[in-house]
Symmetry: C2
Subunit: 419 residues, 2 copies
């Protein structure tokens, strides 16, 4: 398979660059540096980025593609392989702020995306790039949400998919992948096992034209997360918040939201401001937060446990970069127990009407902990990210009716519901 | 409780009018005519409606409130009690059209709403009206989706809620109501029993200030469904489709989408065109379609069965009006079995990436049947409505991985996945 001569018409991307040693490469399906094995990310023509105006963006569609001039692929609408996610609500969380004693709190609710997690953003960008790079099958290693999104994108595009998941995923996430009709492979191991296997598969002849969104086209995939930073800035009226709290699995989402804020200021779309970035993990999988607490950026892998399965990456690739972003901006990281996660889901639901999956519970519970420990300023304007949907992790907060009665006024009265 | 002197500032609504005998009433929490017991609907100042322009609407927010000048309540943003639903995707369903031999087919996908069904639209309008009418507790009789939406709206607004559901609902819909923390009352009977009980409760002193969205403030509630017609017209570039297929429970959604199309043409926002309206039911609950097939508009109530629980209203209040709309426009109605519903869910998922709840499966399967029987024209531009989310009715299409293997290349090879 040969790369197109002029890849990604109109794109501001000019190549790939190593996050460790800054070695540069052309646009291609490559994710690791041949010099130092460091991760690659997309390199942009900064002059081209600087020409993008607020008006350009505001004239775009009500989805992530309004930011196409800031993304590595998809400037030409005909090239997009997408469910058109994005522009999800930024909710003024007055009751939650009051409950926590905060001045101003927003919830960026990404459960409104087509497959109800932020993964639709990264998959749309990854598959748009992959399609132009000549791949003809879509794949991923997933903790669940990514599986849903890749299978759904492939179905819409009419392209075969093969999705790899740990065998012990929540039933909801299994059905919500299987329904799209692609290959769905349960691996008898952890997500980290699945991920390693997929890395090996990309090296086989049989998978040469298969795009694993978070492996061989990962640099493009990761850039999709920037839209969660762009949208918050635009929805606040083209300005940056003071603090953000972001769930961490690989740690990549946090680094890309931070990158989005920095980029917007650099190209003049918002006033520059330091945004303190906070990371949230579960106690069952806390290798990044634990490293930060120990004063190191060397991540010691863990074997994940606990209910926040979508965050259960024990060997998080972007961990050191997340620690760098948090340290540079004056933020912090913390982690919470399964019971705190459940309480976080309920607190968010009861104060905002947003039903989050366990990852959202992790964020709310970590927000509370960061307030209690004085790490997060209750007076500073804060945005928390809910990245997924409660309907996918129902068992975490399985609920029952408060009363069960026969269909008569008498029964209702006897149940004490008539005062 | 006294009604406000000038209800609903800026609203084009001037009163309520009986759908049977045209008796007129002032704006109030009243749903039945004192003369003939017919259902009331909102009466508008047509001169005021006719002044609304496309530009007015396009300048509004990306949710149902852009149509506030055409709704009974909510013109003043400060009065809105809302999760801000609406402007959900209209998807060009190319692969599904090809599979069914159709020229042009769109899916209006309302699973993107905040609680993932079209009910957020009607609840937002009902509670906005209810709040201004002085109600201080929110309630409903629900087959599930409405319960989710009322409980979530109440949580966001910080208002108590009491929600009544049949005791045999899908667990997903129970948890997705319970999580919001209001009262959730399971009734040992069918939805029709729940509905009758709620009608009785509105007459009690204890529920005098409780707004049952689909009982005592039903005229306002029903108007919210018009936005599903407005949005389709706007998303098509301010024009009407030739055919629409709509799921029927009470039958009200169908009548209001038809009303929206008629209204848009009357006030000059789109060119007039006859839109053939088709209704879809399940074989387990088909009283409206059965009446039409028998050549009558007298509905014989049924005892609902089958998996399409969100449509299981055996005594559908708006049935005769749905038959009138279908007959007037040259449409038709049909119904499908549980197996056809499951196939419909899978076909939609595999061709569009949209995972619908059982009601969406009813629509897709009915579309297929209408094509097979020659009732629906495959050459005419058609819009089908998916009103809910597959994650809420997972059991209907519970899926499993296509393979389960150990985490090694060898195991993947032995499973036949390497060619």
């Amino acid at each position: 398979m040969s790369a197109p001569t002029v890849p990604f018409t109109g794109s501001p991307a000019i190549g790939l660059v190593c996050r460790n040693c800054s070695a540069k490469y052309p646009i291609a399906a490559q994710h690791a540096c041949w010099e130092c094995f460091g991760p690659l990310e997309v390199d942009y023509d900064l002059d081209k980025l600087a020409k993008v105006t607020r008006a350009d963006i505001e004239a775009g569609p009500q989805n992530i593609w309004r930011y196409a001039p800031l993304l590595p692929a998809g400037v030409d609408p005909a090239t997009r392989v997408s469910l058109d996610p994005g522009m999800t609500p930024l909710i003024d969380a007055r009751n939650l702020a009051a409950a926590l004693g905060m001045r101003k709190l927003w919830v960026k609710d990404d459960s409104g995306n087509p497959t109800h997690s932020f993964k639709d953003r990264v998959v749309s960008v990854a598959l748009t790039a992959a399609s132009q790079l000549g791949f003809d099958r879509f794949a991923c290693a997933s903790t669940g949400n990514l599986a849903n999104s890749v299978a759904a994108h492939a179905a819409r595009a009419g392209v075969p998919s093969i999705v790899f998941i740990p065998y012990d995923l929540e039933p909801g996430k299994v059905t919500a992948s299987a329904v799209y009709g692609g290959e769905l492979i349960a691996i008898e191991g952890s997500y980290d096992d699945v991920n390693r296997l997929c890395s090996e598969l990309t090296e086989t002849d049989e998978f040469e034209t298969t795009a694993f969104v978070n492996v061989n086209v990962r640099p493009f995939y990761a850039e999709g997360s920037k839209t969660l930073g762009y949208e918050v800035a635009e929805q606040l009226g083209w300005r940056l918040p003071e603090q953000v709290v972001i769930p961490m699995a690989s740690g990549e989402l946090l680094t890309k939201v931070d990158k989005a804020f920095t980029e917007l200021a650099e190209i003049g779309l918002v006033d520059d401001r330091n945004v303190r970035v906070f990371g949230a993990q579960s106690a069952g999988c806390n290798p990044i937060a634990t490293a930060l607490h120990a004063g190191t950026d060397v991540i010691t892998p863990v074997k994940p446990t606990g209910i926040a399965k979508s965050l259960n990456i024990g060997d998080p690739a972007a961990g050191p970069y997340a620690i760098e972003a948090v340290t540079r901006t004056g933020g912090w990281m913390d982690f919470v127990s399964d019971d705190e996660i459940r309480d976080g889901i309920r607190l968010l639901a009861r104060t905002t009407g947003v039903f989050a999956e366990t990852a959202g519970g992790v964020v709310v519970a970590t927000l509370r902990k960061l307030l209690e420990t004085g790490k997060l300023d209750p007076e500073a304007e804060t945005v928390i990210y809910n990245t997924g949907e409660g309907l996918k992790t129902l068992d975490a907060v399985a609920g029952a009716p408060t009363h069960q009665v026969r269909p008569s006024l008498k029964a209702v009265r006897e149940a004490g519901l008539l005062g």
